[in-house]
């Protein structure tokens, strides 16, 4: 066998005793804290304002003294050293990679990386892919437009690092990508959940092919929570006839979590390289009990050009109570990322998460799974609308029965009455990158 066949990419760090792991994490946290304080004017300013010096952090209890960082703190970018300004921690000539966030929640963040950072990022992906069963004998397709968004760039290099043969799908259209996958007999690929479903649909409708017969052995998702939403995951696995695994990451953070091949119902945190904290949704108090939702706050220990220290991702998750049969000691976030704090909102006084709607809509085999949610004010009252595509040719009474059952399940799951507006098949937007299906018009000024 040309490579060691173990469950783990790094058998030592992935199975470390939890107490030992915490000791290492604290040491690494203190190191990166000193690194950003010494090198980034943005961090130094922030910590000086809080009266914090890196040496003040000695124990886990001291962590709360370290101010959180949000995307707003990156607004100092655009100045010298251009374009990273006060966030940059290395001389500009050491930067070898530029990427940026999509800017869906505001101004894009510019993310510099050095050679070391790029190696680190692809190493994270190698860790993830190995845990998901990728091996050097795999031929992996990337149906991804290689551009300024980091997306699957580092997954590409992670797969290559692991020893896979990578096939870049680049600027090809969906149909051409599918034909290339079939021609080359690729046996794995990576995409957003929305695109994974869209590709299967195109294969069936445009090519008259059944993608389950193509020999795809595994799919890895990113960009949206879908692969951790049981009904969406099932839909994808049924469409392609193989396991679908989730991963979580962010441009400013790195690829920090993954679902292993045992699919434990959540995502392991790469705790040797990151500190993940959960804080209460409406305060900065830590959440340590399993099953309690919290905001995900992350520190990347080993990124150099622009590491994040206590970065408030505004994503929501919860610690799992149980471990995983894979044997990793890295903790698990149950259900992966459940959504964003700014998407979890009160509608008619009830706490509402759009991911719940995804779970319900995709539990109906009759529906194609596309939907959009709109929340608006009508007078003094909140009004919630769900646009959902119905299959062609669905007529009463089947149509009425389906809509009635959909409304009933939504009410059961969310405690809300939805104004369901059926749409013709194919009329709602299709997304290749992050889908935007939730529109709170109360915040967007639309109503």
């Amino acid at each position: 066998m040309p490579y060691p066949e173990t469950e783990y990419w790094n058998p030592i760090t992935e199975t470390l005793d939890p107490d030992r792991l915490r000791e290492i994490q604290l040491a690494k946290f203190r190191r990166v804290l000193a690194w950003v304080y010494e090198r980034s004017p943005m961090y130094r300013r922030k910590y000086d304002e809080a009266g914090l010096r890196p040496e003040d952090v000695r124990t886990w209890d001291d962590l709360a003294k370290v101010p959180l960082v949000t995307k707003d703190d990156y607004r100092c970018q655009g100045t010298d050293p251009f374009p990273y300004g006060d966030t940059l921690c290395v001389p500009l000539e050491e930067v070898t990679e530029y990427h940026q966030t999509s800017g869906t929640t505001g101004t894009p963040v510019y993310q510099p990386d050095t050679w070391a950072d790029w190696e680190w990022f692809s190493e994270l992906w190698a860790t993830i892919l190995w845990a998901q069963g990728y091996r050097p004998t795999d031929r992996v397709f990337f149906p991804f437009g290689y551009h300024v968004f980091i997306a699957f760039w580092t997954a590409h290099y992670g797969a290559e690092r692991l020893g896979c043969e990578v096939v870049p799908g680049g600027v090809l259209g969906t149909r051409e990508r599918l034909l290339k996958m079939r021609e080359l007999k690729t046996n794995a690929f990576m995409a957003t959940p929305t695109y994974v479903l869209g590709m299967a649909e195109t294969a069936r409708k445009d090519l008259g092919a059944d993608p389950r017969e193509w020999g795809i052995r595994r799919i890895t998702c990113a960009g949206e929570p879908g692969a951790s939403v049981p009904t969406t995951k099932k839909r994808m696995q049924d469409a392609w006839g193989c396991p679908v695994y989730d991963h979580v990451g962010a441009t400013e953070v790195g690829a920090w979590g993954f679902e292993c091949r045992h699919q434990p119902g959540g995502q392991h945190v790469i705790e040797s390289m990151f500190l993940v904290e959960l804080l209460e949704l409406d305060s900065d108090r830590p959440v340590t009990r399993p099953g309690v939702p919290g905001r995900i706050v992350i520190t990347a220990f080993d990124r150099r050009a622009q590491p994040c220290v206590r970065f408030d991702t505004k994503d929501v998750s919860m610690w799992a109570a149980d471990g995983c049969e894979c044997g990793r000691t890295w903790r698990i976030l149950e259900g992966g990322v459940h959504g964003r704090v700014d998407h979890i909102t009160k509608v008619k006084g009830v706490l509402f998460s759009p991911v719940t709607v995804e779970e319900v809509v995709r539990s109906f085999e009759e529906l194609d799974g596309e939907f959009e949610i709109f929340v608006e004010k009508r007078g003094d009252l909140d009004h919630i609308t769900l646009k959902v595509e119905l299959p062609d040719g669905l007529a009463p009474p089947d149509r009425d029965g389906l809509l009635k059952e959909l409304a009933s399940r939504l009410r059961w799951k969310t405690q809300l009455n939805f104004d369901i507006q059926p749409q013709p098949y194919g009329s709602l937007p299709r997304y290749q990158v992050k889908a935007r299906r939730f529109h709170d018009l109360r915040k967007e000024g639309g109503a």
């Binding site: 470390l16 070391a116 950072d117 190696e119 680190w120 080993d302």
Partner: protein
């Protein structure tokens, strides 16, 4: 071998590689092909340090 012993063994081997890289850089002084590739290899070394150095450094005596 206990995990900590293994970690230390790898970390010590990494130190030797880092020394070899510095020697290579000295030997190739003024040659971009050497200097740039040494920098790149240091990037790979950094990843291995991220795996193994801090654990070795926090070893309780």
């Amino acid at each position: 071998m206990a995990p900590d012993d293994r970690i230390r063994e790898v970390a010590e081997a990494l130190d030797r590689v880092a020394s070899a890289l510095r020697e290579l850089e000295r030997a190739g002084d003024g040659i971009p092909a050497v200097e740039r590739n040494v920098r790149r290899m240091e990037g790979t070394l950094w990843v291995l340090r991220a795996h193994f150095e801090p654990p070795a450094g926090t070893k309780t005596p």
